[in-house]
Amino acid sequence: MSNTVMERLPANAATRGTLSAGRRIITSPKYAPVLVTLGLFIAMFVSGGVRYDNFWSPQVLLNLFVDNAYLIVLAVGMTFVILTGGIDLSVGSVIALSAMICAKLLEAGVPAAGVIAVTLVATSLLGLGMGLMIHVFKVQPFIATLAGMFLARGLCYVISEASISINDPFFVSMASTRIPLGGSASITISVIIALLVVAIAFYVLHYSRFGRTVYALGGSEQSGTLMGLPVGRTKVLVYVVSGLCSGISGVLYSFYTLSGYSLTAVGTELDAIAAVVIGGTLLTGGYGFVLGSALGVLVLGLIQTMISYEGTLSSWWTRIFIGGLLLVFIVLQKVLTRRRN
């Protein structure tokens, strides 16, 4: 109760000193989940090293990035959407669609740069369409993006029912080029792209008006409107951002797999959502960091890695762990936000 008493009075600077600052961060719905995720990641990595041979190598860590570069980009886009309190279910299908567009256009002989440009424009437009549906017609994001999900998946089959392999030299080189990081450790170009996307997203979310409006939307759309913020434009734009990110993610995915296939990335949108939530973004919007989402992806990747190191466990155990983790994080969010209220 001393809390409420303190909060009621304008606390003076002295009582707000360093002592409570730490507690404030730990109990804040803004920072706490991210810190928990970071702690979890470190704990998992340490325990993995204790349990398995050859686990503590830089390459194991780097492979988390290599294998999940596309998912990081996807989670970045998803973070924008979830921060506003929305959701984007279309992203998995959009990955498949953009990989298909890439494969098909490359097969037709279009140069790689053109292919990538077309793909990104197409997925952004798809995002724009969903955003407009949500804003103009007040359709629930869940429904609008569900429609987008079916649409994108269906379009994949229109392009081709069979898998199309990619032989384009640029794509192949993107897939095979490794950037050495000293010793035997190396990463792919996709990793650089993914990290670049994270950095840009971080900048946009924290140092642009658009980014702050994204947070504002998640806090309260009504308040945002009354404060004269460009609520409608922002709401549409986050879906464009998510569409663009799914497009980039799809391109990275096609670097990774060197093929386009209609049935790829089924359910990846749920991985992205899981990563964002585990990364500390509140599903109701308003709180969260894009860095947290990247961290969330790494946690998911680490679970997968550890299960493969375990050897005897079926890979489906990954899902079970992710499920359990999600539950824990959602409960954590509830507890933290309830304390505030």
Binding site: E7, R8, A11, R16, R209, T213, A216, M227, G286
Partner: protein, 520 residues
């Protein structure tokens, strides 16, 4: 400041503004003026047109007819943003800020300082700190807004409004959720702004506050202008008369009846509910509480003193974690509202919109709600019977509009409250818990609701009456429970108790700080 106030000096000059909604004349040729460096109060009952006028002023509505001049030049707003750009800022009753962002951002959002295209956080915090300092608010601009009390949040909203370089600041019911100290803080800020030449529109249901802060007031009734007065030149009683347009006999009549009834019955002496050591950790310290049949027990205390918490325990909303309760001498566990209802205890929440009415349902459906739930879904009430029921309460409680099919969301606050009361009366409770039933409603409806409470008690219903307005508590209650720091400090018989007595009881011994820590 000049004493001769002509339309030329006015910062806001509205002439003949008319606002017509389908079937309703919300504003009928109203004139309205505000001067710089003056606090102006807009008075009127709910439905008088206050909100409509504010919405015209802030660009939410475009007036059907009439002219608006701002600092001499003609303006017409079609969006709130236009009004804001023109220097009209509004702080609404509900704080419309973003709890998930920092105080600094809440103040600066939409016009953040930028450097090379990116937000300059340092400049933002500095500017916010300056503004907060200007209002004498000692809070960390970097802290999350949601971590502060509503009162502080409201002051942050004002800081934001001030930063827009507001020439006109509209405060719509800013004090309805503040306690006395917080109101004083707000008034200090208002006076500071006034000195800086800001024209402030202060809308409040609290007459005392209006008299304390307002220089001038405009009275509206039924969408029409009644008049504009200097506050010091109009007596409270005249003001009230002009607002409701009829003699305000009802209150004195009530008081008369209260005195008479006290001599006669003062409760029946048969206890209806008795609670021993009822408490809930972190909410309310264990209290002993009893209420007789036909007795009105008032709870008085400051905001957050535990008034509502007791009510929620008795209504089964929150579970008690200590103590026992008995209804008619039989032990009961009030673990859910449904349980409480089965013991004929009904609880009407203070949060009328959030926990009370269902805005998108009709008056009729809102009234029938609790009764239907009590009967269970498998025993529907015939539609005709429901309409009759609704009509009965509409007549009995004078609900306006007298249409059972009107959507409750379109009713004024006072009428919504009556609908809520009707809902609980329909289940024929033996104990009715009313938490702030008169908050934010007009004075006519207040009187009606109090009269109703009185009649109910006379007919044997027990009523637990909670209100921040001590006069109301004193007027109605046979006994008053005094709350302080989540603890019932005393239960006093209400014989010739005065507001001052009650205040003394509430304030008494508030220096024993260590007791507070025990609760924590």
């Amino acid at each position: 400041m000049t004493q001769v106030l002509s339309p030329v000096d006015a910062v806001v000059d509205i002439v003949g503004v008319t606002m017509e909604f389908p079937g309703v004349m919300a504003l009928d040729c109203v004139d309205f003026r505000m001067y710089p460096g003056e606090v102006h109060s807009l008075m009127g009952e709910n439905g008088a047109g206050k909100s409509t006028l504010i919405k015209v002023l802030t660009g939410v509505y475009s007036a059907t007819a009439g002219d608006m001049h701002l600092a001499g030049s003609k303006v017409s707003f079609s969006t709130p943003a236009q009004a804001q750009d023109a220097g009209i800022s509004t702080v609404y009753q509900e704080v419309n800020l973003l709890p998930n962002l920092s105080v600094a951002e809440n103040i600066m959002l939409g016009r953040e300082p930028r450097r090379f295209g990116s937000l300059d956080w340092r400049a933002m915090r500095r500017r916010a700190a300056e503004l907060l300092e200007g209002l004498n608010l000692d809070i960390d601009p970097g802290s999350l807004l949601g971590s502060h009390s509503i009162a502080i949040q409201q002051l942050v909203a004002i800081a934001r409004a001030v930063d827009v370089n507001a020439t006109v600041l509209i405060l719509d019911e800013p004090t309805s959720s503040l306690d006395t100290d917080e109101v004083a803080e707000l008034f200090r800020v208002i006076r500071t702004l006034k000195e800086q030449g800001c024209a402030i529109l202060f809308v409040s249901h609290f007459l005392d506050q209006v008299y304390e802060i307002a220089d001038r007031l405009t009275i509206l009734r039924n969408g029409r202008l009644v008049g504009e007065y200097r506050t010091e030149e109009i007596l409270k009683i005249d003001l009230v008369q002009k607002m409701i347009g009829k003699e305000m006999a009802s209150f004195s009549e009530l008081e008369q009846r209260h005195r008479e009834s006290e001599e006669e019955i003062a409760g029946t002496g048969i206890p209806f509910l008795e609670a021993k050591g009822l408490g809930r950790r972190g909410a309310i310290r264990p209290v002993d509480f009893s209420i007789d049949e036909g007795e009105v027990v008032g709870l008085a205390g400051l905001l957050g003193s535990g008034r509502t918490e007791i009510a929620r325990l008795l209504g089964g909303i929150d579970r008690a974690d200590s103590g026992t309760s008995e209804v008619n001498g039989k032990a009961v566990k009030l673990t859910s509202p449904r349980k409480a209802l089965s013991k004929r205890i009904a609880f009407a929440s203070e949060d009328r919109r959030g926990e009370g009415i269902v805005g998108d349902l009709s008056v009729r459906d809102n009234i029938a709600l609790a009764l239907q739930i009590e009967r269970g879904w498998y025993r529907p009430i015939a539609p005709k019977r429901v309409t009759e029921l609704a009509q009965h309460y509409i007549d009995a409680l004078n609900i306006r509009p007298a249409d059972p099919h009107a959507l409750v969301r379109n009713l004024s606050g006072g009428n919504q409250q009556k609908v809520l009361l009707a809902r609980w009366l329909a289940v024929a409770p033996r104990l009715l818990i009313l938490d702030e039933p008169t908050r934010g409603i007009d004075i006519g409806a207040k009187a009606e609701i109090q009269k109703l409470v009185f009649n109910l008690a006379e007919n044997g219903m027990s009523v637990l009456y909670i209100s921040a307005e001590l006069e109301e508590v004193l007027r109605l209650s046979h006994r008053v429970g005094v709350m302080r720091d989540r603890h019932m400090v005393s239960m006093v018989e209400n014989d010739s108790l005065s507001v001052e007595d009650l205040l003394a009881l509430i304030a008494e011994g508030s220096e024993d700080e260590d007791e507070k820590d025990v609760v924590a």
